[in-house]
Subunit: 291 residues, 2 copies
DNA sequence: GTGCGTGTTAAAGAGTTGTGACCGAGGCCG
DNA sequence: CGGCCTCGGTCACAACTCTTTAACACGCAC
């Protein structure tokens, strides 16, 4: 699935495909035909894709962790400019592509000045739109990702992408680069991840049959997590499937949404991981995300 | 975390548009009318503008310190694609806008895939082209802002961009230009910077795989820093990732995960952090706290 | 109980980084 | 004009850390 190797021609030479490799984007449009054709191509490229029927406020947009937003100004009516401006101003790390019908030079200039990254005129070839999205995203990721990427808290754990490290309070867990990448990947998803999936996303290529690297790293991770945050368990094994990240107090079966006692922990994803008990659960691990 | 960061902002008050404030761009085109109209508007917007009659190699482009390059593929002939690809690959921080005559979808897609940031079809309104240039340039310029003309103090160290030199008290560290640029870049960021990133920002183009220049300069820097400010360590290695700047007293090892920048941090890390050993020796079987 | 998947451990191996020496390109000075 | 010096950059080697592999023990599902 990792679209990988086709478009990773830039500085990615380094062994570490940082961040989540997949492109996450939302499309605000109402043209069914356009949406269908587009979604098909986006799927083919391995994008996580989310159609929107009506404009969402930035508050709703932020948690979606988007890389890009495609918007047809036409469906916004006269408030479109305001909306565009607000989104661009409040989410600087989001690539915004306006894709709309015929327009005047003045309109296009206005849109770009307000913060849009590109303006594509409909009708347009879906492949071209995708190229534009990728070009805009490319620039964005390079420039702002590391700086803006917020640190997140899970239980007692604090994950800091900018320092490539995880902490419990002030104490560093002394994770190695690869350990951190795996922790970052796991903590960024609340579903069960198969070993092949983990390997592919972290290492960047397919896992050889019988490779135990993931297991070994998970063990090292657990060891350091346990050492730094005793009484909690973060990485859960799903026998025959893979691993799932979820901060839980030791001995608890279901994650309690109550605030943790650790300093600054409440921000954590102690939220509705509405899965049953961690053990003996045989889910197929099919992503719930559309895409 | 600004452990030793007492901003001694000697802000160069009302200086003209910051040294890097203006947009520097080159236009590779041969249409006199187009060039004339465009240059007029560019002047009006305060751009530093340089017309090019023929394609320049990246070696010639780099020292120009451009923010953006506008190119008409038509005048490059069949080698245009190669040229485009080379420039984009070698200078990832350069915004490249293709502005050329009628083209096919496939051509546009190809151009964007090769690394172009935008594709504008001629004839076009100069104002629109300028908007596109500015949109493409926007993000990147924000990321490079950290190079401000204010001297800052880090631990015992004083970095003076205006003199292109670093001091400890009154004593100059005798840094060479390159050394200073790297120190300036590192000291301007709190996060881990990868070698590729450092190289790209200091040298101005992509780092070749296996290039050790950054390591060597970091070594020279450390040597001079240690000589001038013994007892402190400033540049920390993150194995497998890159380097991070943070003034610390020798023997201490306690990166604080706080995210906020506290501009009031006085006299920096003088505050004794009696950290326990952030031991790297935490071998297994340490159920210190009976889980 | 058996078979397979996973936890755990240790040691071998691969990859990264630190370091000193070296060399060519340019600038300065005699 | 030529020599000297500085600076940027490459190289090879040593030291070091991390990754991978192999092996064995344990637990779960059947």
């Amino acid at each position: 699935m990792n679209t990988g190797r086709s478009d990773a021609r830039t500085a990615d030479a380094g062994s570490a495909p940082r961040g989540q490799g997949r492109l996450r984007l939302a499309v605000l449009d109402r043209d069914p035909g356009f949406m269908q054709v587009l979604s098909k191509r986006l799927d083919a490229r391995g994008c996580e894709y989310r159609p929107l029927a009506s404009p969402l406020g930035t508050d709703a947009l932020v948690p979606m962790r988007l890389n890009a937003l495609v918007v047809d100004l036409a469906i916004l009516g006269p408030t479109g400019w305001t909306y565009l401006e607000q989104v661009c101003a409040r989410m600087p790390s989001l690539a915004v592509i306006v894709c709309t019908g015929p327009s005047s030079v003045a309109q296009r200039v206005r849109g770009l000045r307000l913060g849009a990254d590109a303006w594509v005129t409909k009708p347009c070839h879906p492949e071209e739109l995708i190229s534009v999205i990728e070009a805009a995203t490319r620039r964005h990721r390079r420039a702002e990702m590391p700086a803006i990427e917020a640190s997140e808290a899970f239980g007692e754990l604090i994950v800091r992408p900018d320092l490539y490290q995880a902490y419990v309070g002030e104490r560093s867990l002394e994770l190695t680069a690869r350990e951190f990448e795996i922790l970052q990947l796991l903590s960024g998803s609340d579903r069960v991840l198969r070993r092949e999936e983990i390997y592919e996303r972290v290492w960047g290529y397919a896992m050889a049959h019988g490779d135990r690297s993931v297991d070994v790293f998970v063990r090292k991770l657990r060891q350091k997590l346990r050492a730094g945050s005793p009484g909690w368990s973060y990485i859960h094994t799903h026998f025959g499937v893979g691993y799932r990240f979820a901060p839980e107090r030791e001995g608890e079966a279901a994650p309690a949404p109550e605030a943790a006692e650790a300093p600054g922990a409440e921000a954590g994803a102690a939220a509705p991981r509405a899965e049953g008990t961690a053990d003996a659960e045989r889910r197929d691990g099919v992503p719930a995300v559309a895409g």
